[in-house]
Symmetry: C2
Subunit: 218 residues, 2 copies
């Protein structure tokens, strides 16, 4: 463990970089990115303000890095859902369970994404939109292989996938602040509602062929 690539140098740098990300994420629980201060972040880490510039040009760049981190973990969650091959009803339960677990394990990430998705920093909004787009694409690909999607137009599968993705992100966000502000009882209501909404959507999906896709083609 002496002269291997990576070195003590780079390792230490990565460590402070991660510390900056963690500190920022922590501070973002009670404010939004556009009001976060550079000095505020470095103060928490215990490092000089100027050290910040060794890692990021500005807070927007740090924000984008946070997006990658946050949606990287979300990626795992989505794959876990898509891997299942259950019947519709069990699939929904599994999905909700995964969302619940994710919110419990990465609350700060969930909050960050939900908040900055429509937040005040353009670069971060774009980064999130791009990642969620990739998720939607993955989901669409998975949906397409299911028997229920036989005969569906690609654009319709995609619109369904986007509906699902948006619903999951929204549910995660709602679950998070329900738990914080209304306790376990309020969280339970959110879960109940999300489950039934997914059920209704899945019901609409099953009957799409009958009349849904027929009208207003172009």
């Amino acid at each position: 463990m002496s002269h291997s690539v990576g070195g003590v140098r780079q390792a230490q740098k990565r460590k402070t970089r991660q510390a900056l990300l963690d500190a920022a994420l922590g501070l973002l629980e009670e404010q939004s990115l556009s009001s976060l201060g550079l000095r505020e972040v470095t103060r928490v880490v215990g490092v000089a303000p100027t050290a910040f510039y060794r890692h990021f040009r500005d807070l927007g760049e740090l924000g984008v890095a946070l997006v990658e981190e946050a949606l990287g973990s979300l990626h795992v969650m989505v794959r876990a859902i898509l891997a299942e091959q259950d019947a519709a009803e069990e699939r929904i339960d599994r999905t909700i369970a995964v969302v619940e677990r994710h919110v419990r394990e990465h609350p700060a990430h969930v909050r960050f994404v939900a908040r900055e998705r429509r937040g005040g920093v353009r670069a971060v909004r774009h980064a999130i939109a791009g990642e969620l787009d990739r998720f939607a694409e993955e989901v669409a690909a998975a949906l397409k292989t299911q028997p229920v999607s036989a005969g569906w137009r690609d654009e319709d599968v995609r619109m369904l996938a986007e509906l699902y993705v948006d619903r999951l992100v929204t549910t995660a966000a709602e679950l998070l602040d329900a738990r914080e502000e209304g306790g376990e009882e309020a969280a339970g209501r959110v879960v109940w509602r999300a489950r039934r909404q997914l059920r209704l959507i899945s019901l609409g999906r099953r009957h799409w062929g009958e009349e849904g896709r027929a009208s207003h083609e172009g």
Copy 2:
């Protein structure tokens, strides 16, 4: 028009108050409320920083006032939709049209609500949540009177209403920044997608009685 209640005094005060609200709303196009400065707002209005305190305790209070203003106009839009008694398909088209018009006429309000719904100021989040709750209640009441809802449990009507409300708010937000960043073409895609998503939901609604509400009661 001399000694009537209201007076020149109060009128002038209301005027600057409104000017503060307008200035803030304008500044919020490119940042979020938690990063907005008190001086920044008064500077735009052309008034001394201290004058701010005559109208609001702090920016959070101004934010709550903005919520009332923004969702007041949204209220009009929702009623317009609910008043219609068309068939499902025409109803969807009308709904989308009203959303489009609203986004065009009140872009700043739409952006504000979308951004601060999950934003960094607790009081504002709560105010928005409260208003949207009232909307959902109104929508639920309207849905209940429709024949399709015969035999539905109240909680299910409510969960559907919330799904609709959330979808409309989301669509409005997406439509707004699609138009700004991708032009009319991107906006068209958003509208197309939203229409089909509403259609799918409405389809699920029509078949809810068959199997949807049956499972997992309690």
